[in-house]
Amino acid sequence: MEPRKVPVRVVDSDVHPVPRPGVIAQYVPEPIRSRYLLSHPRGETIFYDAPDYAHAKAMRVDAFTPDGGFPGSDPALAFRQLIVEAGSDIGILEPGGRGHHIPEVTSAYKHAMNVWQDKDWLDPVNNWHERWRGSICAAVEDPQGAAREIEEWAGHPYMAQVLINAEPRPAWGDPKYDPVWAAAVRHNLPVSCHLGRGLHEQLPMPPVGFPSSNHDFMVSYSLLAANQIMSMVFDGLFERFPTLKIVLVEHAFSWILPLMWRLDAVHRARKSDIPEIRRKPSEYIKDHVKFTTQPLDYPEDKLELTRAFEWMEADKILLFSSDYPHWTFDDPRWLVKHLPEGMRDAVMHLNGIETYATVPTHVTALDGKAFVY
């Protein structure tokens, strides 16, 4: 008998799996493994620590595994907490992981993350329910290596997108990255851009000084994404790649409304400098860039948020995300209530189905799964 299929109602654009200790090393090729990954011990590298970090490790405390394993390290627990209990139908996995200042080394680490996803999360045992989709991790700072990685994994039945970090310099509009976008559009894959939080050039390097605490650090991180958008628009990325789709993950989004105004005004005033930028920045943004809903920032007066949603045409540009299992997790049942009713289908699943590769419109029903909306 055919298993019962139900429509996908929630595409969760940001889920963080974590490899168990020692697993990734197996997949990093030599000589990089011995020379860089295993060359010396590495301890905790946190600064800008989330609240109660020593105990919570910037995670939902209830997401540690029963035997003390790190949140996100057990596909079965993640399935139970996110898919069954919170109600996400499809989870787009976005591994974090180490970076290195030598681009080819980062490429090797990213490759290992892709092999690991394939074997430990997207395999028939751990993905028996077919709810997980993976990301082709790529080191954008090694454009040729990233393009090779994309070529290798494109066409995988469960890889939904390319995933890069937000910090590498220069910003995305620089032509040196073109091989990465070319590979992505060749395979019709969106490119998601997630925070990396490393050292030096892998930190946003605020132009006017370092924030003092995780509070001002996290909130000001959105300016990095704002700057990437400026570069993508004014450096003509969307003119060179008219089918490119970009997703900015976990950078918040309500700032895009005044940013669109600002960029449109600057474009009008400076058109003669940049005649090749033919369209208004807000048009490029609406056609090419999407944002995840988490973390949802909201004023005390929720009506202001509703109005902002309307003005920015949020149903065109938002994708629901939870950020499970991080401490900043947004439950889909909570989030959906903040969306204007007419926008819910677009944000919660239609945009996700349209944006990502391999995401279906229907999935096999699961007993006891939470109802979201």
Partner: protein
């Protein structure tokens, strides 16, 4: 007709000879960068053509500026910001350059025979040289037409950090707002964006002013407004629209971080009113044909209390010189009055 207070007019020396005449040795013989930005200059020129009169540097002649602004463009009162020469590594030299600009500002502009009574001044100080800054502030704070103290947007250290507190304390005690303004010239400032140098002027200009967000969030997290309840800060390059989404985010993350920053015990948005102000410039506010249209401009201005924070500023004589005619027509008359003069009159005690 409503009163217009122009909260941002830029003042320059006539040229390097003019500046050096106001410097004493050993600074007179030092190497000092020009106002022009090498990497990030505006293509086509930094200033509006109609302020570029042969024989004068734009913004250096109070006679010309007074005529153009106060007579021809309907401005009743102008708040002047001296433009200085970059974030200089030698803070002593930077202080000497700032002092020269202040001296020129007061004697040539604030005490101008015809227009002086309609000019008000910002005295520039150098945050890297707190001792020098306090002395300079003490020197000018009681001048009847000095209304503000100015610091550059560019910095290596965010303005919430304690090394700057003696300066904020002195400004607050003197009843002078602190204006943060993008510095002209070039020096040892970091690259203007978090991803390094931008390729286009459009990106430079779009991003540079937003660096205030880093300063503002840091001042909130460090409890500066808690410690100095009378401190007022003016972010003088625009970008006030961005305060709404960023304070939403700061509030949303505020509650979890209270335990890390007990010196800032209130919700971040509680620290805005009466402390934070913005100059409203040419690229601020929803454009008529932008996302959301412009009918909502009035509603938007009310959000986060912006209508009490924002002050019209032309940025004369820069290429983006703004005009009150370009302000959103959807603003209510009350909002328009506040932005055009009410907020500045209150902030700088200019009630007529």
């Amino acid at each position: 007709m409503s009163r217009v207070i122009d909260a941002s007019v830029h003042v320059f020396f006539g040229g390097n000879d003019d500046m050096r005449a106001h410097l004493r040795e050993p600074y007179r013989s030092r190497g000092i960068p020009d106002y022009e930005k090498d990497w990030y200059g505006a293509p086509g020129g930094e200033y509006v053509p109609w302020a570029r009169v042969p024989g004068t540097y734009p913004g250096s002649d109070p006679e010309l500026a007074g005529r153009q602004l106060l007579e021809e463009r309907g401005v009743d009162l102008a708040i002047l910001h001296p433009m200085t020469r970059g974030l200089l590594p030698d803070r002593h030299l930077a202080s000497a350059v700032a002092a020269a600009h202040n001296e020129m500002l007061v004697r040539r502009w604030l005490e101008h025979e015809t227009y002086g009574e309609r000019f008000r001044g910002t005295v520039r100080v150098v945050p890297d040289d707190i001792e020098g800054a306090l002395k300079e502030l003490a020197r000018w704070k009681d001048h009847p037409r000095v209304v503000q103290v100015g610091v550059p947007m560019q910095s290596h250290v965010l303005y919430g950090k304690p090394q700057f507190w003696p300066l904020w304390e002195a400004a607050a005690e003197a009843g002078l707002p602190v204006a943060v303004h993008v510095e002209a010239g070039s020096g040892v400032e970091h690259a203007p964006t978090p991803s390094g140098p931008p390729r286009t002027f459009a990106q430079y200009y779009s991003f540079m002013a937003l660096n205030y967000v880093y300063h503002l969030l840091n001042m909130i997290a460090e409890g500066v407004f808690e410690t100095y309840p009378n401190l007022k800060v003016v972010f003088a390059d625009g970008g006030g629209d961005m305060v709404t989404p960023f304070i939403w985010r700061m509030d949303t993350f505020g509650r979890p971080h209270l335990e890390q920053t007990p010196w800032a015990p209130r919700m971040p948005s509680d620290y805005l009113a009466g402390h934070v102000y913005f100059v409203n410039g040419k690229v601020d506010g929803p454009p008529a044909d932008g996302p959301g249209g412009q009918d909502m401009a009035s509603e938007w201005l009310r959000m986060t209390g912006k209508e009490d924070m924002v002050m019209f500023g032309s940025s004369y004589p820069h290429w983006d010189t703004a005009d009150p005619a370009e302000l959103p027509s959807a603003w209510t008359p009350e909002q328009r009055d506040k932005v055009l003069s009410g907020n500045a009159a209150k902030l700088y005690s200019l009630e007529s």
